[in-house]
């Protein structure tokens, strides 16, 4: 069963990345701490008025997620490069897309854990009330995270191997994420305000379509990008 072997490769790469991360924890702690620090700084810059902070909460959480998340992606390829492990990884039998899928899965777990901390911090620091529609809100966050991780992992596979990777990845990634940022923030704001205009549904569909389009596009393009 070919797909079973492929799925095993994907899991193996994701597990390897997550195990490395769990043993050192340096990367995760740093990224999560940065996310919370950005939130605190935004709170200081926009506060101390409670109503203003509540209004800005969604935007602040998503910006903190983008800025902290961007550090995670370069890292996931950099650990391979530092130990000269990318070339051997490419030599293993099996299709190349499984490498991308494995990295994607690892980053998805990593960023989801980071987002959970940032969202919890945002709820506490910005005084956000949890709405009755919170399961939909979790869905919106998940769709946003998938969009962020798909393009982040794809661009990091290039930027991590370039000069000036710290500058290049945000330059490539952030303009591409404009639909995710708009979709996720607008839908989240609508859901926090009981969605009186019924606009959340349209944004959720846009986010889902965006994720699907770029999931396909990056899987197709990765074969060309990783070729050594």
């Amino acid at each position: 069963m070919a797909w079973r072997d492929d799925w095993r490769r994907v899991r193996a790469i994701a597990r390897k990345d997550l195990t490395t991360e769990l043993r050192t924890k340096a990367g995760f702690n740093g990224v999560a701490a940065l996310g919370v620090t950005i939130l605190i700084l935004l709170g200081l810059a926009l506060g101390p008025d409670g109503a203003a902070l509540r209004n800005a909460a969604v935007g602040a959480v998503w910006l903190a997620t983008l800025f902290a998340g961007v550090l995670a992606f370069n890292r996931s390829f950099q650990v391979e490069l530092e130990s000269g492990a990318l070339e051997p990884l490419l030599q293993y039998p099996g299709p190349r897309w499984t490498i991308f899928a494995g990295k994607l899965l690892g980053n998805l777990v990593f960023v989801t854990a980071m987002v959970a901390i940032v969202v919890a911090a945002g709820v506490v620091l910005f005084g956000v009330g949890i709405p009755a529609t919170w399961p939909t809100l979790v869905g919106v966050i998940a769709l946003g995270v998938v969009g962020l991780v798909v393009l982040g992992t794809f661009y990091a596979s290039m930027s991590s191997r370039s000069r000036a990777r710290e500058v290049l990845l945000p330059m490539l990634l952030f303009p591409m994420l404009v639909p995710v940022l708009l979709g996720a923030t607008t839908a989240s704001k609508a859901l926090l305000g009981a969605d009186l205009m019924h606009e959340a549904g349209a944004w959720i569909r846009l986010l889902a379509a965006y994720d699907l389009v770029f999931l396909i596009a990056t899987f197709v393009a990765f074969e060309h990008v990783i070729e050594s």
């Binding site: 794809f154 661009y155 290039m158 930027s159 191997r161 370039s162 000069r163 000036a164 500058v167 290049l168 330059m171 490539l172 952030f174 303009p175 591409m176 404009v178 639909p179 708009l182 979709g183 607008t186 205009m197 606009e199 349209a202 944004w203 846009l206 379509a209 965006y210 389009v213 770029f214 596009a217 990056t218 393009a221 060309h224 990008v225 070729e227």
Partner: protein, 238 residues
């Protein structure tokens, strides 16, 4: 399947040369169409002669989209066929397109300040044009930061194609973002007195753009040929 050898180029060593007279002609045609449209179009009711900025602003916006469409086509062609020339055409079109994109934004702001009273509004068109500029600034940064030419070609083709796919999605999302909250500023319907001037200026600017892309492409080929010659000389030295 073996990867096609992208280092060898079957074309003759001497790259094609576009005559500089084509550039002179393009600039003269543009000057003539500008003079024609400025002198023949009446002063606009609300804006007066401020409206004349349209004859550069709007064609520049159209040519921006056309240039980025060229980037998409040649990026996909490069990924498919692997010819170095396609990469160079895509890079040249991206540079010229980004320049026209910047021109569109700056002219729009110069027009917007007296017409709307502000330099910038978060309108769907303005915002998506700005995001487009940022996407291709990223493309050009990638080209600048990657040294290996084959890697640069493959990566920028992927980034160019994926960036172009995003253009309609960005436009749609920014439009929704605006329209769900307040009515969009409706585009001014154009009086027939101005359409002729707009059309001929678009063709003139197209002529200028083709000249620039060709010239930029030829310079890129010359640079590449010089690099190959230097490499060959270095390898041949004892």
């Amino acid at each position: 399947m073996p990867a096609p050898d992208r280092s060898l180029d079957a074309r003759p060593a001497r790259p094609p040369r576009t005559s500089p007279w084509m550039g002179v002609a393009a600039i003269l045609v543009l000057a003539a169409t500008q003079a024609y449209s400025i002198s023949t179009s009446p002063a606009e009711g609300d804006m007066g002669h401020l409206q004349k900025i349209m004859y550069v602003h709007v064609p520049a916006a159209w040519m921006t989209f056309l240039a980025f469409f060229v980037v998409l086509v040649f990026s996909v062609k490069y990924l498919w066929k692997g010819r170095e020339d396609d990469d160079l055409v895509a890079a040249s079109a991206a540079e010229v397109g980004a320049t026209l994109n910047g021109l569109t934004l700056v002219l729009g702001m110069i027009w917007g300040r007296p017409a709307w009273g502000v330099w910038w509004v978060w309108d769907a068109r303005l915002t998506s044009t700005l995001v487009l500029f940022l996407i291709f600034a990223g493309y050009l940064a990638l080209r600048a930061f990657v040294d290996d030419e084959q890697q640069r070609a493959r990566w920028s083709a992927a980034v160019g194609a994926i960036g172009a796919i995003n253009v309609p999605i960005v436009y749609m999302s920014v439009k929704w973002w605006r329209t769900l909250h307040q009515p969009p500023s409706s585009p001014a319907t154009l009086d027939p007195a101005y359409t002729m001037g707009l059309r001929i200026n678009a063709f003139a600017l197209l002529f200028v753009m083709i000249f620039f892309i060709r010239k930029r492409y030829e310079i890129a080929r010359l640079e590449r040929a010089a690099e190959h010659a230097a490499e060959a000389a270095a390898l041949g030295a004892p």
